[in-house]
Assembly symmetry: C2
């Protein structure tokens, strides 16, 4: 077996928290999308930073790959051990270590999920707002620089991680950042590790920026005659400095699918879903001003909600969209695209993408985070249909070229993994080589999540 020597030492370190059982390997070889099952050689469940450090030191000595695993919800094959080795599952490092209400910070372990964290924060009046949809772990969210529906107001993981504890490729443990809200003390290593997808180090602790639970929340759903009008309404809202906590888009296909499955009667038109957080007075005022702007751009069929129950009803179409779309084509799996462009080019990007999907004979309802200029097509692919997969890859290639032509990026929030690696040179040119240099400087033997993000053999 490959890596036998390393695995023998790891068993001495972890006992039965190192597994080579088929079911464990199979479970940690799965993914939510189109990558083939890729079981690792072993799965480890460390319980402390020191164990992670020792584990990495052992693997470094033997040249055994180390791949971090959170909830397994990433979409670009980030956590799959394509080169074999050990998957490090952080499920047993899932505690809130400290909440600092005065500073609005929490210190957590990487294996806690965002829902778990918010459940623990509920009584404090504070919340961690980043919401990528899936109930991902905070470690995984940091690794992919996740964002989601609330980034328009609260920022992405880049903005909400203040400090990290990281195990380096040689087993050393460092701390980056501090409890201060800002710092100019040298290179921003926190920012470098956030989004590095486990290729530069393993995050073992995160200090997070928290936000107050809003006193009041108001939400609305409205339809627009076309997507361009919806985007114009959002741009005007942003320029008026009306703080939207969420501003989401679904296309008419999503509305149709949702109506068919849920017995709702949304107009089969593009929809915006918007949410405002604030005091009773400010949330109401923000909602009123948004309503005025949206009507000016043809918004219609407004449905407003302020209670939690009503809001959940309104948001159901958005939250259920992914599952509803997959269910709309029985036996299909989703390949989810993820470009992000300057918002002034968003309508154009969506229109061209719809044309591409139709051209290539695929189905791909579209939804997205319109305030960020970020949207997803959920390409519905028949499992095992190589032709469809190839055409879907062609869609993503065209999307990447489009994103770059419009001044954007090939991935707004899903990350690179292996799925987007072939497009990195297109986006970054020589800057991709700078990333590779950093990788070589921090992981000279290439044991940390090898094959992801960068090409080190360049």
């Amino acid at each position: 077996m490959p890596h036998d020597a390393a695995l023998a030492e790891l068993t001495l370190l972890l006992g039965d928290r190192l597994s080579r059982s088929k079911p464990d390997l199979a479970q940690h070889g799965q993914n939510e999308t189109w990558f083939p099952e890729t079981p690792p050689d072993a799965v480890a469940w460390p319980e402390t930073t020191e164990e992670v450090a020792r584990l990495v030191a052992i693997c470094a000595r033997h040249g055994c790959p180390v791949v971090a695993w959170g909830a397994g919800t990433s979409l670009e094959g980030h956590a799959l051990a394509f080169a074999g080795g050990v998957v490090v599952d952080f499920a047993r490092m899932n505690r809130v270590l400290e909440v600092r209400p005065g500073d609005m910070q929490a210190v957590v372990q990487p294996g806690i999920t965002r829902e778990g964290l918010n459940a623990e924060l509920r009584a404090t009046g504070l919340m961690f707002p980043v919401d990528p949809g899936a109930n991902a772990t905070l470690g995984g969210m940091a690794a992919t620089r996740a964002s989601g529906t609330t980034a328009v107001r609260y920022g992405t993981m880049r903005d909400n991680v203040l400090a990290l504890e990281v195990v380096l490729a040689d087993g050393r443990v460092i701390r980056t950042g501090s409890g201060a809200r800002k710092s100019s003390a040298g290179y921003d290593l926190t920012g470098l590790f956030v989004g590095s997808e486990g290729t530069l180090g393993l995050v073992t602790e995160l200090t997070l920026r928290l936000h107050g639970q809003p006193e009041a929340v108001s939400a609305a759903v409205c339809a627009f005659p076309d997507f361009a009008a919806a985007v114009e309404a959002v741009i005007a809202t942003i320029q008026s400095a009306i703080p939207m906590a969420r501003i989401e888009f679904v296309d008419e296909t999503v509305a149709r699918i949702f109506n068919a499955q849920s017995g709702t009667a949304f107009p089969e038109l593009p929809h915006l879903m918007v949410e405002f957080h604030g005091s009773e007075a400010s949330a109401a005022e923000d909602a009123r001003r948004f309503g005025e702007i949206a009507e000016g751009f043809g918004g219609l069929g407004f449905d407003w909600a302020t209670t939690t129950e009503e809001r959940n009803r309104l948001w159901r179409m958005r939250h259920g969209a992914y599952r509803a779309c997959i269910a709309a084509r029985p036996g299909s799996m989703g390949m989810v695209t993820d470009i992000c462009v300057p918002i002034s080019r968003l309508a154009e990007a969506v229109a061209e993408t719809r044309a591409d999907i139709a051209d290539l004979g695929l189905q791909g309802p579209i939804l997205g985070h319109v305030g960020d200029g970020n949207f997803h097509a959920i390409l519905l692919l028949e499992r095992g249909n190589a032709g469809e997969l190839a055409r879907a890859k062609e869609v993503t290639r065209r999307l990447a070229e489009r994103a770059l032509r419009l001044g954007g990026t090939i991935t707004g929030e899903h990350g690179v993994g292996v799925g987007k690696k072939g497009l990195m040179a297109l986006e970054h040119g020589e800057a991709w080589d700078v990333m590779a240099r950093i990788k070589r400087a921090l992981d000279p033997d290439g044991i940390l999540n090898p094959g992801k993000v960068v090409e080190v053999s360049q």
Copy 2:
């Protein structure tokens, strides 16, 4: 002369835009604080990215140091050529290249100052909010990860630089980031270059995030019985999610000095100065809620302003504080400290610092950005008094230890340069070595601003 061969080639490239004249060298060897005059071997005024790239390639071939120069307002000796070589003055690369109103972005060259930029933006309804006090260049502000009075609302340079064009140490030109508001496409190189103080590359273009000019602004000054009460008021305001655009602190010494010099009659007590940006309704409402909170913590003598003229009058004490303090001790120069701590520890940090300054027989009025937990003591030192300088360095050393003990950082916004380099190991431990590895990976010959931020001989 050192670097003669490099300078001869640079003269061929730049003609009379390369100077070795004594006045030019002297002017680019000065600094605003206590570092000795340090003239470089030459000063270059490139006009294009291509010229910067060729300049760096020539210097790389000859091992000649390259030090970027913006407005020369940095406080830790960042732009002084301690190892000789060429200072690159970006004064002729000072244009706004593009304003994108729909995306609320501007593309600028590094030599434009923040006041110059905002003057050009005035008619667009947009603004660039980061305000470090000095009329620094955007290139310099990015290099030091500057922030200042508005960071509590709008963030620091880290949050407001979306993309960069950078000349690397070998003369290659790369682009980092994009016009998208967010991205997960690999390592955050933009964030790495912001705050790298010219040691990893020379920034030749910046894409900045703009913000709407507020429809309405309201401001207030009020006194507090002691600093701890003022901090409690600020914490309560933040927890109430009242968005302060600025929240500044000056101590009673600043109030006294200002009264003496300006004939004002502020109570000789700690003061908060606060500003709210929003609609007429929201700015007034925010101000009202802040007033209630502040009164609850003993705030008194409120002076409110909504017109520009009245606001300028209110803010005069804060904006004039540095000059007023220096003038209060004729013949002195300032050494400005810069720690940043979690806000819950700010009162403690300030109290201990005041005791230290008194202990060591120095004068040092204190002011700061209380919403960020960042404060400055302006140590007033007699020019040429070696004993006072040594005691001031002892104050900064104790401040650094205090910052770290309280969970903060040795510099909130001024950066490292050479002044704080001796304290970097204290803050970062092994992580400082990670910074050095990155430096060696990107600038193996060490020609970019040598001797700053990192220790590469480790």
